[in-house]
Assembly symmetry: C2
Homo-oligomer: 203 residues x 2
């Protein structure tokens, strides 16, 4: 088994943090995304969408999509549970993971991809108006999350889950997107500090 890893980008980091929380070691093969290594034949034949990370299993199966890779490890190594325990809890974790992914991470990514000079060859065409339209939507989600985190320690409830990992990479991704969490979002900022202080955050 080996993980084709993409370095600092949000999705590769999401999977590495998940593995660190599980205490699972997987051999990494680092792909240089700034040199467009994710568009190489080596990656394209494993994931025609040319996105990283990609997990290659011992039978040659190539798994892509970060959350699908996490699902594979969650099923094989259920402890500690990062994707829920019983039916209801699994659904709640998935609800939050998807809310964060579609409404926060995607919004931040839209701002980043449609404004950042480094993305000119990745996002064609870059549409500044679309980036601008995403900014207030991201800010609205942040305000909602801040209010939610006044009621519980983690995004999906009493336990740290994959929803926290996705939210952390989304907040960290705000910096290159030139977005900032407002200073009065105390609950969200405290949650972010607490999450960044976990050993897994440096994975």
């Amino acid at each position: 088994m080996k993980l084709f890893d993409g370095g600092r980008a949000p999705n590769p980091r999401r999977v590495r943090i998940f593995l660190a929380e599980k205490g699972i070691n997987v051999p990494l093969e680092t792909v240089d995304m700034t040199a467009l290594g994710h568009r190489s034949d080596e990656i394209t034949k494993r994931n025609p969408l040319q996105r990283l990370p990609v997990l290659e299993l011992d039978d040659g199966t190539a798994l892509s999509e970060s959350v699908a890779i996490c699902r594979y490890f969650e099923e094989l190594h259920p402890e500690p549970p990062l994707m829920g325990t019983d039916a209801q809890d699994k659904a709640i974790v998935e609800m939050w993971q998807r809310r964060i992914e579609f409404h926060l991470l995607l919004g931040v990514a839209n701002v980043f991809r449609h404004t950042h000079p480094a993305m000119i060859e990745w996002e064609v065409p870059q549409i500044a108006e679309f980036a601008e339209a995403n900014r207030p939507k991201v800010m609205k989600i942040l305000a909602w999350l801040d209010a939610e985190l006044a009621t519980r320690p983690f995004i999906a409830g009493e336990r740290f889950t994959i929803a926290d990992i996705t939210a952390m990479i989304a907040l960290d991704f705000m910096k290159p997107a030139r977005l900032q969490v407002p200073e009065n979002h105390h609950h969200l900022l405290a949650w972010h500090q607490k999450t960044k202080a976990r050993p897994s955050a440096s994975a």
Copy 2:
């Protein structure tokens, strides 16, 4: 238990088809989305994101996000499996479900939401240039899917899964988005006909 249903929109239909494939009956409460019923207090207190469907459990828990609702039923009623069987199969189904969702359904939705006159109050601002940028991306994914479906009967392999449901609602959603599957995509078109012919498709 009751499902706040949103009628003809893609996500409400996705969950109804999933339930029909499982043979599960859930009491429906239909919400009129054209009258903006999804923005009512009744829905907003259950899903602050004001999206449908929402599943209310007997203990009052409100589950939203279509795939999370499907996960809940998959865990309680594993047969027939629509989200995979063992760890590897579950990961492969999730990979395909996400590929279809992020690269096909989201692309079609982007075209629809940023061009259709009925969406003027839903997608603010509508950005025609962004819709146009999504068209060729959708067409590229369709060509890829057509080639993939030359090798197997269903999106994720030998079995009908949630990835087929998501792909069907995405293709059906192409009509109001004024997008068309090219006539030479024989494998994709045959798969679409076969999937639309299942009894669940009318759910």
